[in-house]
Amino acid sequence: MMEPAAYLLLSGILFGIGVVGVVARKNALIILMSVEIMLNGVNVAFIAVGSHLGDVTGSVFAFMVMTVAAAEAAVGLAILIAIYRLKETIDITELNVLKW
């Protein structure tokens, strides 16, 4: 039984850093890393709540999130390499073939 408030605050901060990174940065690699920070913020929340409740479900959920994050990163980096081979840059503002 631990008090989760501080950990939830930490999770909110991590999540916020991630969101700001996704929105503000232009480098696709940094954006993918920011998404990982968001997911880690979620993990902290799940584990904090789970251990507060004495329930392992929270930790199990965090494991699932980590697994999915790894799969997502693998796919994201593969696509990043494909982009770099075509354009020699991973700046997302250079991705402008498709627009209205």
Partner: protein, 491 residues
């Protein structure tokens, strides 16, 4: 209470059939030297066909959740499994005809396609937020790869990069919402979360959680303002993939949206025969979302020059129409969504099929290159006109009946402003759909060479035109199936 893991397996045969097909495809990919053979396509057709058969043969299920409360087997899930499997079969047939995909490795493509299908099966049935998250990602991650399958082409790679960034962010926001729900209620089963929330008084976290979950689901069904990815992805992806994304994952997104919101943020009201929302007033929020979605989709579609991009905006607008049935909290409204999804499957896949056939001949997806198609490929042009008029919702085509059911229930429940917005939108949509028909039949062709349409695509087009026409005059059996499928498993 919940069915254990081993007893659940016998209700899980459709998913097992797809999993077996995926594994066979992996083995075939490793074993075979010829990357372009048609064998993987035929194998996936057989696998998805078998799984569709199993879905049809399975009884209603044990009336409880399978796998210790992870997935439900109810009429609702069975309906969406049949729908998505049917869409996948049509898309496999399309992919076999597509010139874009001819030189690409075949087996891998079908592995991704069937993985998405497996994800959609689970997504339509998930009753636990862990399962829900995993199946949503099982739909998303192979979709990123499918969108970028034409690796050397800038458009395709760009589409998949944008898809990854939007998708990963949206699902990250959604899962933060899940963590709030888990924190509020201490459980991951959606039925129990619903009961826990009904007792609680924590309005702000609950509202935050609802909004964050909406981001994830809204991205899946491409509702405004979470639609930004869809025009780019739809334009850049190979056309069969675009057709698939616009029907399959969208339908599965609606399935999970309905199941989640009707279980977690609403309670069944047996006396009135409908649901009533608890905690947050989300129906009003979604009504506004629905109106904005259809308006943005239709208004932006007017100016499009690329057929795939136009159909992307049109599919955003159609998601808006279907959301109308979602906000009413009545079984009749849900029935209208289910019926509309069936109708939408045939007309939208049919339109994309013609786009593929034309692109095979002209190497172009610009609307201006459709000029004179009426004389160059009369059959394809007439079929495309049928699909476009059905998408508009003009009688006697099936799209009209679908819209009638949606509009009727909206008016019945007295949400007149939404009905008016939707009716105005239908008028706007007539303009851009009819413009393509005008280009095809009234403008002189730039080239006069006949565009050949081989026998197999011709037969497939007939199979897609037929339901579009027949459901416009005789829709009784389908609406009955839809009405039977509305029964959501309650917990």
């Amino acid at each position: 209470m919940f069915l254990g893991n081993l007893e659940s397996l016998k209700y899980f045969l459709p998913e097992l059939a797809i999993t077996a097909t995926i594994l066979l495809l992996v083995a075939a990919h490793v074993a075979s030297k010829n990357r372009r053979s048609a064998a993987p396509a035929l194998l996936s057709l057989a696998g998805v066909g078998a799984s569709l058969l199993l879905v049809g043969l399975l009884p209603g299920g044990p009336g409880t959740s399978l796998f210790e409360g992870m997935v439900a087997l109810d009429g609702f899930a069975v309906f969406f499994k049949a729908l998505t499997a049917l869409a996948t079969i049509v898309v496999v047939a399309m992919s076999m005809d597509s010139a874009e995909l001819k030189d690409k490795s075949q087996a891998e493509y079908y592995i991704f396609l069937l993985s998405v299908l497996l994800g959609m099966f689970l997504l339509a049935a998930a009753t636990d937020i862990v399962m829900l998250y995993l199946s949503l990602e099982l739909v998303s991650i192979p979709s990123y790869l499918l969108a970028g399958y034409l690796k050397g082409r800038a458009r395709s790679t760009e589409a998949s990069m944008k898809y990854v960034v939007y998708g990963a962010t949206a699902s990250g926001v959604m899962i933060y919402g899940f963590s709030l729900l888990f924190g509020l209620t201490g459980t991951t089963h959606i039925g129990e979360i619903g009961r826990g929330l009904a007792l609680g008084k924590a309005t702000l976290p609950m509202f935050l959680a609802a909004a964050m979950v909406t981001v994830g689901f809204g991205y899946k069904i491409a509702a405004v303002p979470f639609h930004m990815w869809s025009p780019d992805v739809y334009e850049g992806a190979p056309t069969p993939v675009t057709a698939f994304l616009s029907v399959g994952p969208k339908a599965a997104g609606f399935a999970v949206l309905v199941r989640f919101f009707y279980t977690v943020f609403a309670t069944p009201d047996a006396a009135a025969g409908m649901w009533k929302f608890s905690s947050v007033d989300w129906p009003l929020l979604f009504a506004v979302l629905s109106a904005v979605t259809m308006t943005v989709g239709n208004l932006v579609a007017i100016n499009q020059k690329n057929v795939k991009r136009l159909l992307a905006y049109s599919s955003i607008a159609h998601a808006g129409y279907m959301l109308m049935g979602f906000v009413l909290l009545t079984p009749v409204g849900l029935r209208a969504i289910l019926f509309y999804l069936v109708v939408y499957l045939f007309m939208n896949l049919g339109a994309f099929y013609v786009v593929i056939l034309v692109a095979n001949g002209t190497r172009s997806e610009e609307i201006s290159d459709y000029s004179g198609l009426g004389s160059r490929a009369p059959f394809a042009a007439v079929a495309l006109s049928v699909f476009l008029f059905a998408l508009t919702g003009i009688p006697p085509f099936s799209g009209f009946i679908g819209k009638v059911y949606l509009f009727a229930e909206v008016i019945n429940r007295g949400v007149y402003w939404l009905a008016v917005v939707a009716a105005l939108n239908s008028v706007v949509s007539l303009y851009y759909y009819a413009r393509i028909v005008k280009v095809m039949f009234l403008e002189d062709p730039r080239e006069s060479a006949v565009l050949p349409v081989p026998a197999f695509p011709r037969a497939m087009l007939c199979l897609l035109v037929l339901p579009t026409l027949v459901l416009g005059v005789y829709w009784e059996p389908v609406i009955r199936v839809a009405a039977d499928s509305v029964k959501l498993l309650a917990f």
